[in-house]
Symmetry: D2
Subunit: 158 residues, 4 copies
Amino acid sequence: MAHHDATYVAVIGASNATEWELAMAEEVGRRLGRVGAVLVCGGLGGVMDAAAAGAATEGGTSVGILPGDDRTGASPHLTVAVTTGFGEGRNVLVARSADAVIAVGGEFGTLSEVALALKMGKRVVGLGTWDLRRDDTDADPLIRVDDAETAVQIALGG
Amino acid sequence: MAHHDATYVAVIGASNATEWELAMAEEVGRRLGRVGAVLVCGGLGGVMDAAAAGAATEGGTSVGILPGDDRTGASPHLTVAVTTGFGEGRNVLVARSADAVIAVGGEFGTLSEVALALKMGKRVVGLGTWDLRRDDTDADPLIRVDDAETAVQIALGG
Amino acid sequence: MAHHDATYVAVIGASNATEWELAMAEEVGRRLGRVGAVLVCGGLGGVMDAAAAGAATEGGTSVGILPGDDRTGASPHLTVAVTTGFGEGRNVLVARSADAVIAVGGEFGTLSEVALALKMGKRVVGLGTWDLRRDDTDADPLIRVDDAETAVQIALGG
Amino acid sequence: MAHHDATYVAVIGASNATEWELAMAEEVGRRLGRVGAVLVCGGLGGVMDAAAAGAATEGGTSVGILPGDDRTGASPHLTVAVTTGFGEGRNVLVARSADAVIAVGGEFGTLSEVALALKMGKRVVGLGTWDLRRDDTDADPLIRVDDAETAVQIALGG
């Protein structure tokens, strides 16, 4: 059972992921589970399932926030699955529920979660994810890292 | 950890609850935890906290779906807390995430969750909750019971 | 065009409505349009369409908040239709957007909107709609009326 | 009144906008109003207000989808304002309600709407907005333009 003062970290990325992304997500999930953080994700396959599987191997707690009306397609490794019936609207809840976010690769859905988390003032760590620029600034709003260990350390405030 | 094919049962009711309602909610939570069902609730105090506490005493799994932007006010007995920032809008997610609903007492928020669950075609069991009538029908859309054991049996399809 | 300080009144009720309900909704819509109130509704058929049609005959402004991902099934009489993709979750937005609510008949969806509006502290006027009781109180949370003129007067604070 | 088969175009951008962005948004709004398109926006100040003001000068129809619980801070130029109480979650509804999106400058909130609209498969036109790249592709998911006239033409499918 999760301690009620655990840190919640969202691991976000696509269903359609590369081998490297799946390996990163799984290791991030394991490291979060090991330290007692709660893993938040979109609850489906690919990066989401890999992260939940990683957390489960360490006895960690995970919650998947699903787009559909029921739990069809939910990762079997989740501790709990929340159905929303909101479609892409569930991305708001993934960002909202997390204290920090780790983006692993990702497509447009992941980009929306990154942007929502940044708008909400949350720390966003990137592992091989979107590059975001505006003409009027050189600043990169994401903290870029190359490995799961550093991603988790930074997400947890280290 | 919750089994991925667990039944999800929402226990809904007010923060401001009577002793009888709290006792009922706590026993419902214990019985759900004992059989491995996942408890869904609104995540705050009163009936919600009592149900989560009951589930926790049996090693059960619970998820609270919170109205606010952060986990302030969340029951410490929850396995996981999902923050929505949707205010009353989170009631939709409580109803949506559950396979069946047990209403214990309750005020307008509980009534909204009962109505949403009925609209979604879910089984709703009532313990001392709202009486709902329309002029053109005698049918009561809720299954009324008087004790926690029967409430849980019916919610689980028994 | 709606004046920016208009009152917003939701007219809620079922797609599957009686002749009396449709006539009431249409007259409520006409009276709201005549005084420059903005009509809010669920945007589909039955009571929703009748209210929007009534508003349109008086040059009134209406907004329909749709459950689906697109405007399929939207009343052609709406000034604007907002698509949500939230299914029943859009009921929260109907209640939230209104300053007062007039319920005309209605099924479980209408009941959820009545309950959400009451929870949000809004005035709810009932025309042949749900009877709501709790054992511990005799108070009826709705203001019951028998005709459209009185319903609109009360909804507008008269 | 909007024709029920109008095209809905979201104009998205920040409250805190440059003179150039405000001028672009206002001209986009005017051009949308002139052709009978419905303008969708986030309903507040800056780019949102400028677009609504532009639409109003041409007798156009606009809907603002607000983050808060009431219409405080809403642009006075809107035809209708929908209150959501969803905070940043309202960005999903801005993207969902539109058939096409024109992004004018913008910060993280705008970026989230761009990403959500792309995820939903909608055409997104950019006027001085975010640059989005992934390492594994050179493709720019936005259609970049330099003036309001071209932005509206492309958003309307021209």
